[in-house]
Amino acid sequence: MTAADWAIVVLRPLVPVLGAAMAVPVLTWAERRGAGMIQDRPGPNRVGFFGWRAFGLGQPLADALKFFFKEDITPDNADAFLYTLAPWIVMFSALVGFAVIPYGPSIPIAGRSVPLVGADVPIGALFIFAMAGLSVYGIVLAGWSSNNKYSLMGGFRSAAQVISYELAMTTAAAGVFLSSSSLRLTRVVEAQQGSLLRWNVVPQFFGFLVFTIAAFAETNRVPFDLAEADAELVGGYHTEYSAFKFGAFFMAEYIAMTVGSAFIVTMYFGGWSLPFFHPRGLVGGLVSVAVFAAKTAFFLGVFIWVRWTLPRFRYDQLMRLGWKVLLPLAFANLLWAALLVRTGVL
């Protein structure tokens, strides 16, 4: 392999992962400005650059500095090794999901046709499910190693919740795999091209609903943030964390949101494709990436919107919703998808 080949192999997964990581500061700003808008107040609007307020866009930088310079505390009776490891497990499991999501068509670079996807693996979607499942370890271990009962309760809640909602999520996703007859995410995007009606959200609307709700639960976001319910558990699994270890949890939440949004877009909204747009060459490829980013940004907006609109579930409500509503709905959607494929509609 030449140097150019190596560069392409390294850059293909690195571009979306870095993109997701760099979206985090903007997202924290958007979250707080969005909260302000919904609650009829300005939100952070002061910290800018060199006397220019810039709508408060300097706030994330100030927050990052704060994370760096706060005291890094490890509780006396904590398991220091696991306590340090836990935030990075969560961070890893959030970041790595982006390696298999296609973010554009094949583009010509230096005489080669380069597909814009980190790794086009045949198990695509399962890889994301597997890696998202890993974040449970980070949260449970953070809760346990802190040696704090609130932390432990948060960890337990998160584990039970993620396992319960994973079932509904994978069952909903199975409908998409039926209609595109592959687990390969590039193939899932391909099968949705050509017409707006081919986007999986149209024939499998209830599948989309279940998948999106489960995605909220998997990221531990409101209304499913029982793992860090501040009214009951102080801060849940990250009660004892400070400084950059807390920052890692904080960043991982936003990265997981980005991956979740990108996953929803890929599964149900045609990924990087638009119905009447046929990308050609380098420019077409870059426009497709922009389309993908815009669709993902829309769902990130939905994440923020929901967080500041809905109240938190009670634990029994959460379990009832997962097992008695979402799972049967996902199975019904699977049967419906099978019927559509069988009758040749899809």
């Binding site: 398991d79 696991l82 693996v121 045949p122 198990i123 399962l126 890889f127 499910f129 597997a130 499942g133 890993l134 449970v136 370890y137 449970v140 271990l141 346990w144 432990l152 960890g155 337990f156 584990a159 039970a160 396992i163 994973e166 687990l183």
Partner: protein
């Protein structure tokens, strides 16, 4: 020796080492985490043996679900260190030794036989097979597959009934 083979051997070594850690570590939580690492190393092995589906299932089912529940229970019981390690029956060690020797013999035989079947690199060629697995599962192996589902359902119901009976002692009319 190519890169894939090197990674395969490395993953195998990690799997064996952490399986050992699982057995000897004094903290049950750390033991559990060691077996998680072993399962991951096995998944890497599956990928390199062109069975990515098996690798994904290994991580989702074993690491992502079963071991999380184990971790859950272990943490709830709050076992800080292992309880009693003294063996009460002197012949236990002898039988353990016999078991180890027998298992090592079986493993050695299996490894020797598979070495003859595999290609020059020692690894089968890449097929990325999910479709053949699905084909076999829903045609040739459909009946055993369904039988296993029924067995699982039966054991699930059994566990539920056993748990209920214990409770109904006080609550039943």
């Amino acid at each position: 020796m190519n890169a894939a083979r090197l990674i395969f051997d490395l993953a195998g070594a990690i799997a064996v080492v952490f399986a050992g850690v699982m057995v000897v570590h004094r903290n049950p939580i750390k033991s559990l985490l060691a077996i998680v690492v072993t399962f991951f190393a096995l998944a890497v092995g599956f990928v390199l043996l062109s069975a990515p589906f098996l690798a994904a299932i290994q991580v989702i089912v074993y690491a992502g679900a079963i071991l999380v529940l184990f971790l859950f229970v272990t943490m709830l019981l709050n076992l800080q260190t292992e309880e009693e390690t003294a063996d009460r029956r002197p012949f236990q060690r002898f039988f353990a030794l016999v078991g180890i020797v027998a298992f090592a013999g079986m493993l050695l035989a299996a490894v020797r036989r598979s070495g003859e079947a595999a290609g020059s690199s020692g690894l089968p060629p890449a097929t990325g097979a999910i479709e053949p697995l699905a084909q076999a599962l829903f045609s040739r192996a459909a009946l055993p597959f369904e039988a296993v589902s029924v067995l699982l359902l039966a054991s699930l119901t059994g566990a539920y009934i056993l748990m209920r009976r214990e409770r109904s002692g006080s609550a039943a009319p």
